[in-house]
Symmetry: C2
Subunit: 448 residues, 2 copies
């Protein structure tokens, strides 16, 4: 039997009360209300590390979902990604309580100047001994842009052009400013670093002018492991160039995976230079019946209102006027509602309402099953091209604990989940090398 | 005997190798090389808390000192505030390891947009249970401005005007956006917060347009305790308006203290609304002779080169051409070199050289003495108007440990240093109330 490739497992969370499956925060079996407690985050990190998860992946958004019904009221009432606290400030404490777990965090190129962002990322990489990943986002909420000094959200493609320039600054700071042997720490001669080996970067780009040098000495990974989640044409192109891990949440996966790999190849990158991680929502039981009962119980408390507010923000279209009881036969699922078509197509015989569809979207189209069924499903997604998963919680740490207790042992027995951590920084654990691959565009900025 | 007012004690440090007294990082009796180790920072925080320090005060600079000899070479070679890592990322871990110690951090209004800055500060205040202070700086290094997207450093007074607008945004986000009873966490009805009590701020200022609302629910202090260190005319005015603690490093203290209190009174603030903390460098021994021997030993390893690079950056004048062996009688200590006049005046009989003066500046004009002598000196500075001190280290934690073992017990016996922490957030420990005083300008932004 040929040895199977191991899959990556990341826990998906956010420094807020309600992340994806809204309406559940008030349940007694979830710790979402403890989002400002470092103890709760430390417990989660230790739980994940004990089970050999690759990382905890923290989403973020710097803005409020205010499209639904023309304002932020529903989001605020439902704690739907507001309040939302800074994710980076959780990481060092969790890293100090663990030894191997990685920490991916989301950061928008609109939120911070690259010179300052580069320093913060390097500081995190130092403090975690090289266990950080950055999920590059270009923002999609007009609210974020307005609050951050952009009159309005820059146009979609323009945001990616800005992203390319932002990353050029970062690569130069992280990879080119300090040579590998610049830091000598010579106590006898009183020389900490050799100034001849610390360089300005003199970046003059279309968006940024940054002379440098970088303020930090090289951290274990230099460039943090790079995640990206683009799915538009320009977003895929951006991911194919920069991402080492691509995070896909939603449908149309096979085509998207194939397309990103094809685009990456044009940039001289190989299939195994990019790991594809699928977002999956799992409801797990010892038996299928138990799992189904659990799903029905969760669905009782899901909030349709919050789901529609979330969706409206993503789409940029106010779904507040749509009657949830209208049958879907009334709709043409084109344009922005096109993503609902696949849900409708799956159950052609039923008289579904718009609310039914929205609820399915809200539950993240979750996969419900026994430990073995879930393990089989993940294995089959792996055989279909996925390299790993971001596990979306319904309750936290409940969903992760269910996975760890029931599914993980099966996956480990099949060689699909690691049973020990490899040594070294996060990139080394995943790709075998602490530093960017020579085929990555960031490597081109290195000094020879 | 009337009860004496207790003084504040803050340890002054920075997330870098060499902070103030340069050239000492290579000594065996200092942990400066461990600046990327969370364990070293946790040890320091625990040591300070055990001795009932009020806070650990972290300096910062987002740029490199590159004026001396026309470039950053000396700074890089001497680790003179480069490398310099982000200070905020150290704080949650130290807070988790302690219960009462405060954490002041320095942040420049040029480094980050106020909308994002406000969220980061609120996150810190949540994670530390209200134990943070922000030292407001407006940047003085042209290198910082150039790297952060300003073509050059904005003019001095303009930076303070920008600072006023920046703080107006912050006060509105922290004090006015979320009402005190906005967060209800009603599990039964599924309501986290009452949208009618969460407000946009609709700020239209000369520098910033920020609609809001704030992304964070109210943290224990809302506005972090505010430190400021302005000494210019405009800087004093800024401090007199905004600062709750003023940090003074250098000479001319009496006049400066009186002037800031006078200006504050014009804004309707009382003398006891503002605490004045003096930066002091202490070399402490069991006896005076022991302290003097310690000072001579430290002076052996002080680096004049690094000191001149630091001074050149502060002054904006390259001191690289000045011959350190020239007697000071050759100089007119006017203009940028005026600050050296007080050093020269103190020892009129000696034939001092420029290098001698620079070395005194470099040693922070340290106070050398026995435990009792140091305690007397601090008491007398307190009687002269100081409300507390930022202790500058020569070696870390050595300087702090010397103070804790020898001086602190004397001060505590005299009622000049707290022996127990008061309960509550940092501002409550110092001013008796967790929130801004009604006389502070930030309070004017509150909703009634």
């Amino acid at each position: 039997m040929r040895s199977r490739k191991r899959l990556l497992f990341n826990a998906f969370s956010m420094n807020c009360v309600s992340h994806i499956h809204h309406g559940l925060w008030g349940r007694a079996d979830t710790r979402q209300l403890e989002y400002t407690s470092l103890d709760a985050w430390i417990d989660l990190a230790k739980t994940l590390e004990k089970a050999k998860f690759d990382s905890l992946f923290l989403a973020d958004v710097v803005g409020v979902y205010d499209v639904y019904k023309g304002g932020p009221e529903t989001s605020i009432s439902e704690a739907m990604q507001i309040p939302v606290n800074d994710p980076t400030l959780l990481i060092p404490t969790m890293a100090h309580a663990t030894e191997h777990l990685g920490f991916a965090y989301t950061g928008s190129i609109l939120a911070e100047h690259p010179f300052n962002f580069a320093r913060r990322a390097s500081t995190l990489d130092h403090l975690t001994d090289g266990r950080i990943a950055w999920n590059i986002v270009t923002s999609y909420l007009p609210s974020a842009a307005r609050n951050l000094g952009f009159n309005d959200l820059p146009k979609h493609d323009d945001r990616y052009d800005r992203g390319d320039d932002y990353l050029a600054v970062l690569y130069k700071l992280w990879e080119a400013s300090w040579e590998g042997d610049a830091v000598v720490r010579d106590r006898e001669r009183g020389i900490y670093a050799d100034p001849a080996k610390v360089h300005t970067i003199d970046h003059h780009g279309p968006y940024y002018e940054v002379p440098g040098p970088h303020l930090c000495e090289p951290s274990p990974q230099r460039t943090p492991l790079l995640f990206q989640a683009g799915s538009s044409d320009r977003g895929r192109e951006f991911a194919a160039r920069h991402a080492e891990c691509v995070f896909i949440l939603g449908s149309g996966r096979r085509e998207l995976i194939a397309d990103i790999r094809k685009r990456a190849a044009k940039h001289g990158r190989r299939d195994d230079d990019i790991k594809i991680c699928l977002g999956v929502s799992l409801v797990i039981g010892g038996s299928e019946a138990e799992a189904q009962a659990k799903a029905r119980d969760l669905e009782q408390t899901l909030s349709l209102e919050a789901g529609l507010a979330h969706m409206s923000g993503h789409l940029g279209v106010d779904l507040g006027d749509v009657d949830p009881d209208r049958p879907i036969s009334d709709f043409e699922f084109n344009g922005v509602l096109g993503f609902l078509k696949s849900f409708a197509a799956r159950e052609p015989d039923k008289t579904l309402t718009f609310g039914d569809l929205a609820r399915r979207q809200l539950s993240g189209n979750w996969i419900v099953g026994s430990d073995e069924q879930i393990a089989n499903k993940l294995q089959s997604l792996g055989e279909d091209g996925a390299d790993g998963f971001n596990l979306v919680y319904a309750t936290t740490p409940g969903t992760f604990v269910d996975f760890i207790d029931g599914v993980a042992p099966i996956l480990k027995a099949r060689g699909l989940m690691q049973t020990e951590y490899d040594p070294g920084p996060l990139r080394q654990k995943i790709f075998g090398d602490a530093h960017l691959s020579d085929r990555h565009p960031g490597a081109a900025f290195r000094r020879i």
